[in-house]
């Protein structure tokens, strides 16, 4: 990943700044131990992490219908989405994420929740086989995917695919404007 772009720095002052910023910064090694303690606690509560997130087969893919409905706050109507303001002061948008698929659990993972599978579970709706969750997102561009039954990773066929993914699996792009 790293490459230097020093040839773009035509200014001696900025070269000195960058050289200084590249000096090592050493953090407290004890933070690893603190993280490990939290993870051991995780291990006690959860089943061991297991690999194998191979994609769902063609049958599942054919059966999956995913729709992300973006609803902007309305100025009219009987029950407009409540205005919300994020910590940074920007107004957020109400985004409903829906998935129609045979599954016992569905979660959405993405930039908005640090790809944490436990952070944003979808709830089953009365429609049967349809899962849904409401999010409040600031305007921006988000990469995301679905985690089905805790092990199957699916992009969203109704939204554009990311052209490049660090995850090596299908990832979709949601633009909130």
């Amino acid at each position: 990943m790293p490459a230097d772009h020093d040839d773009e720095l035509h200014d001696e002052l900025l070269r000195r700044v960058v050289a200084e910023l590249r000096r090592p910064v050493r953090l407290d090694p004890a933070l690893d131990a603190r993280a490990l303690r939290a993870l051991r606690e995780d291990q006690r509560r959860r089943r061991p992490v297991r690999r194998r997130l191979w994609l769902a087969g063609a049958a599942l893919a054919a059966g999956v219908l995913v729709a992300v409905l973006l609803r902007l706050p309305s100025t009219e109507g009987t029950r407009p989405a409540p205005a919300a303001v994020a910590a940074g002061g920007l107004e957020t948008r109400h985004v409903e994420i829906r998935l129609s698929a045979p599954a016992s659990s569905v979660a959405v993972v993405g930039d908005f929740n640090d790809w944490d599978p436990a952070a944003t579970p979808l709830q089953p709706t009365a429609e049967g086989g349809v899962w849904s969750v409401d999010l409040q997102l600031k305007p921006g561009r988000y990469h995301y995917a679905f985690l089905i039954d805790g092990r199957r990773w699916e992009g969203d066929p109704s939204e554009p695919r990311a052209t490049k993914s660090d995850f090596g699996a299908p990832v979709s792009v949601l633009t909130v404007s």
């Binding site: 000195r16 090694p29 993280a35 291990q43 995850f167």
Partner: protein, 178 residues
Amino acid sequence: MSDSDAALVARTLEGDLNAYGVLMARYRDSFGRYAFHMLGNREDAQEAMQDSFVRAYRALETCRQPDRFGAWLFRIVANRCRTVRHRLLRYRRFDAELPDEIPAVDPAPASFEWREEIGRALARLRPHYREAFLLRYVEGLDDAEMSLVTGAREAALRMRVKRAGDQLRELLRDVHAG
């Protein structure tokens, strides 16, 4: 020979937390440097890194290219830094810590003052500018990688890098001349 990232990720996924400990040690300081410069102090950088390690572990199943674990983890770190910074803005004024706790390599008095001034100048940049400048020149990411980490368009990122450079030059000109 040290284990590859991919091998350590595989062992971690089999339940070997010690393997994950090796990964944390491998990336703690290199990514911690980015967190330190983004957040302006060591304490918050350490919190962001610890949080990132925990979140990355919980999401490790989704790392489909274990040989690129570092790139994947870095994205989580960058996200965490944004989250921590937003929280800091709510509770206290963001300011740069004087880098006086753990010495970097060969800390001569003159360079100490220089580092102090750079830290202050960096803290005065808009966060998006600071982020873009660090990703470009300190972490060495190209346009596409920066876009992936930040979610911003490549053209916007190039503009941020340029403005960050212009502002840093302006803020540090007198110090440099002296």
